[in-house]
Amino acid sequence: MKRIRIPAMKLFVAGSLILAFAAAAGAAEADAANPAQDPMAFARGAKAWADNCVRCHNNRDPRELSDDQWRAVMAHMRLRAGLTGQATRDILEFLQESNGNTATTTAQPVVSPAASVAADTVGAATPEALYNQTCVACHGANGKGTLPGVTDLTSDQGPLARMSDKDLIGSILNGMQTPGSAMAMPAKGGNPALSDADAARLVRYMRERFRGE
């Protein structure tokens, strides 16, 4: 084995110094933003999930994995996709909050205790704020969808044109699987704080915004 030449050694030393500096800087910012204490982590995570996963592959259904499994997968994805630590934590928050039980057929409204309890905290938000927090990552600001397979809310063939308020509320609260879509919409759009009243307000808001009704 020949001796390693100087340029490479210089590079390695320089890299080590950069690493040491970065490690020192990193220690100060460690755990700076804990999603559990950050009410916007879920919304940021939904957007980051919609923006980043599709760079390489289809968005995976949050229900495919448990909280712990998503934790390991997101560490893998952070390295593979060059995500920031903050984006990784936000996406993990979104996935862990979105992998609960979801019906796969047209569902009837089912009110969970958690939804009713949460109503006093989320119910104060405007429907527009609710949409921008919970729905916009996948359905987009124009309602046409940001991901392949997401239904077009503006279309005459879309759910707003074809479904009753009752069914729409049920689909929002319990999740739904659109035929032909690779993934299901999670229950409550993945937002566990969304109440049945919020779902009803969202339906009215989306009908007005995207269908002019």
Binding site: M1, G15, L19, A22, C56, S66, H76, R80, G100
Partner: protein, 434 residues
């Protein structure tokens, strides 16, 4: 749930009614029931009996209201706890088992598998490949992450070949950087490190020049720093910078034939190769990447036989890639890769060599259906002209799930040499990622 809130309402109504009916006991001895300190008795003595009675009622009301508030808080806490438990039960029901939580270590098995069926233009149809690629993840806290992938595949003759695709230990030391050491997929370019798994690649085969032994390096053994940062104003960046043993060269007679870049555990030429890629996303739907590597390498294999003592020579890689989603259902991407080895007069294969490839691909997901249409054009120029070809490809995919796909494709190949073994072919592939 509603009964929980009904209880305080009933109690409040009872209190309201109670306050309208003066209690005889309270009227007889208001201080005793209200718990008012005896010092107020003197004050009461100067007040009319009606005022004293009202004071007693107010004190009683305050006491009962405090009790109500405590009961309501307890009911709310209980409901929240019940709700959380219900959500957890629903989650367990959806997943099928109760996953361990709140442990410092997490283990997870991911991976993918695929099977191919190929019909060559001038040959026999065959089930040509089956592969199982398990990927093991082990995370300790949020800072340490190990991952390793095996590639287990059937080869000619029915034997099974096992290769270590990668095995790395990552130290995620801050939000923008992680140190990764071990054998890793080459950070150069995009296809090899991110798109080559069959369940991710939209086409049923790799672009020409981007498979093993092409123009894009596959893996290296060394250390790298990877990460990303968000600027806000001009988008986000991701990067990977590495130092590794670098590739080795193989020769056929006195001509360089190929680059071996599977991540060798030796460094015959005594020189490390360094390089990396930086990716820029000005908007989330567009990514532009540039790659570069530099170092020295040497011939370690001649006509399939390992040799030692070859002189070192220059090695360099340039690359560029892009991915753009102008519509949610439409994905356009392309990549260019060029790696070269310099000349070395004292080598068995003295001449320099260049391997160059590029491809462009469009994939369109038919809205509201599981169908996806794919078209691709690629060009590979190799010093080994038997490998050089241009290739058109058209395919159609049917997505069974978000990570399970059946692909059908046809490749139209136009090799540089008529005697090349690269022919047109039809491919069927099923792939699943998990």
């Amino acid at each position: 749930m509603r009964t929980i809130y009904a209880t305080p309402l009933v109690l409040a109504l009872g209190i309201a009614l109670g306050t309208t009916i003066p209690s005889s006991a309270a009227a007889a001895n208001p201080d005793a029931e209200s718990g008012t300190p005896s010092g107020t008795s003197a004050q009461s003595a100067t007040e009319s009996p009606e005022i004293a009675e009202l004071r007693a009622q107010i004190a009683e009301l305050n006491r009962r209201l405090e009790q109500l508030a405590q009961q309501a808080a307890a009911a709310r806490d209980s409901a929240r706890s019940d709700g959380a438990k219900a959500d957890q039960k629903a989650r367990i029901a959806a997943i099928g088992y109760e996953a361990p939580v709140n442990t410092r270590s997490t283990y997870h098995l991911a991976g993918y598998g695929f099977a191919d069926f190929v019909v060559p233009q001038d040959g026999d149809a065959a089930f040509s490949a089956a592969s199982f690629n398990p990927i093991f993840h082990a995370q300790y806290d949020e800072k340490i992450f190990f991952e390793g992938e095996l590639e287990i595949e059937v080869i000619d003759g029915g034997e099974t070949e096992v290769n270590l695709e990668y095995a790395t230990i990552g130290w995620l030391f801050n939000d923008s950087a992680a140190l990764v050491a071990g054998r890793f997929l080459s950070p150069l370019g995009y296809f090899r490190q991110n798109l080559h798994p069959a369940w991710i690649n939209r086409f049923a085969s790799a672009p020409v020049g981007f498979d093993h032994d092409g123009a894009a390096p596959s893996a290296d053994l060394g250390a790298q720093i990877r990460g990303g940062w968000a600027t806000g104003a001009i988008g986000t960046f991701n990067y990977g910078a590495y130092v590794g043993n670098g590739p080795e060269l193989e020769a056929e007679e006195d001509v360089l034939e190929g680059v071996i870049s599977d991540g060798s555990a030796r460094n015959e030429d005594g020189n490390l190769v360094w390089g990396g890629r930086i990716g820029w996303l000005p908007v989330p739907t567009l990514e532009i990447g540039l790659s570069f590597a530099d170092g020295r390498t040497s011939v370690t294999e001649v006509e399939g036989e390992e040799i030692a003592g070859e002189p070192d020579r220059e090695y360099r890689f340039y690359g560029g890639d892009f991915a753009w989603r102008p519509l949610p259902a439409l994905e356009l991407r392309g990549e260019y890769a060029r790696q070269s080895a310099g000349s070395s007069a004292s080598s068995l294969a003295p001449d320099s060599a260049v391997w160059r490839a590029w491809y462009a691909q469009a994939a369109y997901r038919v809205t509201g259906t599981p169908w996806e249409l794919v078209g691709r054009y690629g060009d590979f120029d190799s010093v080994n002209e038997m490998m050089s070809t241009r290739q058109w490809g058209a395919g159609i995919d049917y997505w069974l799930t978000s990570s399970t796909v059946i692909k059908a494709a046809y490749e139209f190949n136009d090799p540089d040499l008529a005697e090349s073994e690269i022919k047109d072919r039809f491919l069927l592939q099923i792939a699943h990622g998990f």
